[in-house]
Point group: D2
Chain length 356, copies 4
Amino acid sequence: MAGNSFGKLFKLTTFGESHGKAIGGIIDGCPAGLKLNFEAIQNEMERRKPGQSKIVTQRKEADAVEFYSGIFEGETTGTPIGFVIHNTNQKSKDYSHIKDVYRPSHADYTYDKKYGVRDYRGGGRSSARETACRVVAGAIAKQLLKGLKINAFTSSVGDIFIDKPYQELDFNKIESNAIRCPDETKAEEMIAKVQAIKKEGDTIGGTITCVIQNVPAGLGEPVFDKLHAELGKAMLSINAVKGFEYGSGFCGAKMKGSDHNDLFNTDGSTKTNLSGGVQGGISNGMDIYFRVAFKPVATVLQKQSTINNSGKTVEMQGKGRHDPCVVPRAVPIVEAMAALVMADYLLLRRQESRDW
Amino acid sequence: MAGNSFGKLFKLTTFGESHGKAIGGIIDGCPAGLKLNFEAIQNEMERRKPGQSKIVTQRKEADAVEFYSGIFEGETTGTPIGFVIHNTNQKSKDYSHIKDVYRPSHADYTYDKKYGVRDYRGGGRSSARETACRVVAGAIAKQLLKGLKINAFTSSVGDIFIDKPYQELDFNKIESNAIRCPDETKAEEMIAKVQAIKKEGDTIGGTITCVIQNVPAGLGEPVFDKLHAELGKAMLSINAVKGFEYGSGFCGAKMKGSDHNDLFNTDGSTKTNLSGGVQGGISNGMDIYFRVAFKPVATVLQKQSTINNSGKTVEMQGKGRHDPCVVPRAVPIVEAMAALVMADYLLLRRQESRDW
Amino acid sequence: MAGNSFGKLFKLTTFGESHGKAIGGIIDGCPAGLKLNFEAIQNEMERRKPGQSKIVTQRKEADAVEFYSGIFEGETTGTPIGFVIHNTNQKSKDYSHIKDVYRPSHADYTYDKKYGVRDYRGGGRSSARETACRVVAGAIAKQLLKGLKINAFTSSVGDIFIDKPYQELDFNKIESNAIRCPDETKAEEMIAKVQAIKKEGDTIGGTITCVIQNVPAGLGEPVFDKLHAELGKAMLSINAVKGFEYGSGFCGAKMKGSDHNDLFNTDGSTKTNLSGGVQGGISNGMDIYFRVAFKPVATVLQKQSTINNSGKTVEMQGKGRHDPCVVPRAVPIVEAMAALVMADYLLLRRQESRDW
Amino acid sequence: MAGNSFGKLFKLTTFGESHGKAIGGIIDGCPAGLKLNFEAIQNEMERRKPGQSKIVTQRKEADAVEFYSGIFEGETTGTPIGFVIHNTNQKSKDYSHIKDVYRPSHADYTYDKKYGVRDYRGGGRSSARETACRVVAGAIAKQLLKGLKINAFTSSVGDIFIDKPYQELDFNKIESNAIRCPDETKAEEMIAKVQAIKKEGDTIGGTITCVIQNVPAGLGEPVFDKLHAELGKAMLSINAVKGFEYGSGFCGAKMKGSDHNDLFNTDGSTKTNLSGGVQGGISNGMDIYFRVAFKPVATVLQKQSTINNSGKTVEMQGKGRHDPCVVPRAVPIVEAMAALVMADYLLLRRQESRDW
């Protein structure tokens, strides 16, 4: 069971290496009759695209999606949606120097151990370039989800954190700045931080918070496929992610039950929402929110000592065009993966109806 | 795809409600020829069992496992292992008062929304009693994993944290105290804390750290089924879990790349291990370690105002015998789920051999 | 992926050996709110049960099903339905003589090759006893399928064939005779044939025809999971089955297109139904019908020369109580597997609705 | 679970409509380190290709496969193999006349019922064009299977049957004639038959026999995923297939056990092979052989009365370039699907090893 598929009823399978001819995927299970907004899809691609601002990698990639099947006269037909994104701007020679070298905290070493061979150019399959395919599928899933609102944003860069609850933030401001932080003051600090780090030839980590609103109650499949467990797996499958927490998260582990319990209103909603919209793995109708931790990008433009595949120590220095901080470009990826999970569980939910 | 199965090649499917006749499961895919140590299996059950110490629920359950198939003359036959644990000590009347009531931060409300009907006794399917089946399967997986060492322990209760790196802890001391903390001084504080909380009729959260040692390099299935993503899902599927982080985790999100990168030794091991033994979703041979956050148990023995299924406000008070802190009993569950993930990936790894 | 599960949304996983403590299974994905008719379930068990007539094995087994979970106050709860059938009438000593012997055309040899160990008693896992679990799940699936009518019957024994189209048969007569053939004249011939064969200590093969009526159009999942492909796999997974054909089947391979095409009536139904109710893997609303070929039971009560596991030639003679012809007892199994397939596809169909 | 994936460990997912931009697929799970013979792959494509002889459709399609990923310097990398076949020779206007018309015994009606929308051009997704992707994957699977020999051939056209056992046939002659029948005399009769049928503007059915040799014992996953059950599903998933039988097949249903049993030689092989190389769903090391029935192509170039999507009766006549008999082009498809099944089970087999 090689792990290149995600989802059950709404299933995405991706292929492609960073510097191969193309990357792409197949979405199997998208219901028929959905009129697609292609501009909205491409717009999500732009949000993930390199070169979109001064604080991300300056690589230039068109990231133009070509759909080959599953759509007829602008409408999904229920058959698999095959799509391809041609790789247009690879500079493979940027990578010739790592042909035999294992970059620290990269997947070079593990891919070699697992497969005994690898396409080293641009990180090959382990490159975050693969996530472009997730964004395509996520953009379609979003259109399927209509009512739901999925908003992710940068909640911290290094030690700069938003210190307001998400309810006090204006999600319309997320796209108003390069770091994708709806708190404009913090956004400026974060951007300054990233620019300083970039000057040092270094990189920095951060966190993304995601809020899903208008979720119907009843989504999730206990006991192993709990809604939050699948969301966690989805996020942890994104490059550079080191942690996931939802609702009260790690803070909840310090609390007392009497403080942590969410008391009910008579309409079934709760006065507080430390649960994060999920109880026993099933959505309860309140907002679902979670936080995702991203490590700093491993490629630093400073000298580092490492080894090659014959176990010799070598000096290396990151080349090529890299992100000083992955977080701003990861925001649409987090939303895409959240959309894939929600679409899958909504379809699962549909077949539970009790009218026979 | 109802979610009661876990794993691909080593697959566990469980059934059972807290107060039904029995709980149980089927392990499909356990290779043939494994001589089982039944004492070791039962021993894991004892670690999870209620009533094992003063700081856990005083319910008495035998938790005796009966194996019905897949084992012949003490050896696995490669056919599915069916097992059952009869429920012997239910006091269903303890729950009659919640027949129509939704307990705050429990799954009563969401199960009703999803299924329209529920076995309310003892929480039914949403009860942590289901995890007994995971411990059975995990105990068998551990025997399959021979070389690997999987040790989980309580790393915090409320705001009492172990402040040493795991390398300085003696895992042999984990079972030496009721809270399962290898740091004896902290253990005493934690136990005192739980006892105080219990007196108040309240509950408290905590965290568990798990360390997996002697892991071969090359386990994990990029891009979606990354080893740490599956570990995360496994942990998040355990009752009361709110968060998961591995390696540097959320702290890593504050760091710079130049500090975070794990430099190589010439033998391929790394000088530091902020990566937590996984790169690009594949094990690199270093220790895998992660931390799991548990919320405080929702059932407090204090008066709470809540609603019933006709939306009326009602006063309720937790009855029955409950855990003031779930963490000590969750330690073997965390180990069991980790063992299930590792066994599955080890079997997946086997079929990648290159000799044709 | 050990192969002991069947179905996707309505999923059955079975366990158990012929002479172990018990056999059983888990049905995961049965929707909540289905009031179960337990008498109807047990009645299906009686149809499969040994000892029910003079022309089947005289083994006596209670085949009483115990449900352990997933049902509350007679209604399904949407949680997994765990069930067990205790083995009560094994005479394991009947099998001591085959401990090291490979019976011709049995699975003894292949199980040994695959697993290196086997529970030889009564054929262990390869025994048709396992199908009792399929009948339990199939009986529940039938109750889910309400409107649909699934009727299987014996269409041939040896060279005695029903020579009428199924439309001319009265399905109410299927249970009126021991061979389960609705054509009473043929039924008598078939029964006489089986009795003669039994006297010789020999066995005989036969075929079963199954007709599914009132099927809604639109069931099936092209391109690989075509409705008839899944039905074919389901039937081929039953012990002793050698062939499957639907609609015109093998005869269709001799025909011309101009004779084979089913012309439409204006309501979308077709004047003929050589297609067997499926086009392009999707039901078209016409009757689905197919035929299943069963080989003669391998255990003959005559002397045979065979080998043991050290490659020595040995003389053996079948002992124990065996079926001279498997077909009459296989009729409810064919219906059960058909019901499992239809239930699964009906649930899959539900989530295709176009209203968002 | 839309049904566009096949296999578990060696998994193919396909996309594409007959007249869309392209068809293609993703092979996930092909082990790393396999040096691919691309000529051999293209050669399989030529065998399936239209226009290859006088007795098949005269459509001209290049069927050139482009590989986009998973291969580096001619060797598989263990990452997903994405491939695309561009559609180059569609004459969509050939199909404008069926835009609203349901062709008899085609999937037009059922696709409309299921999806409510369809790409009618060339049959869209229901076109056998999709099988080109299966041939690509099957050709790679064959290279993985090295030792195994998989030979399919035409065993009948209409009522012209090969009357020799396959052991007496020379498989090297399969490709020596346009109908792919190794019995040259029969081949001539079959070809003449197809030419006569073609003149009438009619079509004819036929059967294909497939023989798999050098199969190791121990492949197959009881109880539901029996080796022959998966082979049956694979064959039944091919367009126009109506039946499947293996070993003695439907004839076996007429036999006595004393005649049907395969007696052992002391080396574990059997004197006869009515079992068809499989016992209890597991290969026994003897040849696996099976027969597949194909209905006559539904598109006849004669006037037919049918209905349109408003339920009106209309006269129609097949246009475009169609096959008078699908069998010769289906031979490589049968081999491809057989190779996919065997590759999957071989990989599954690998992880059963008993050395820990």
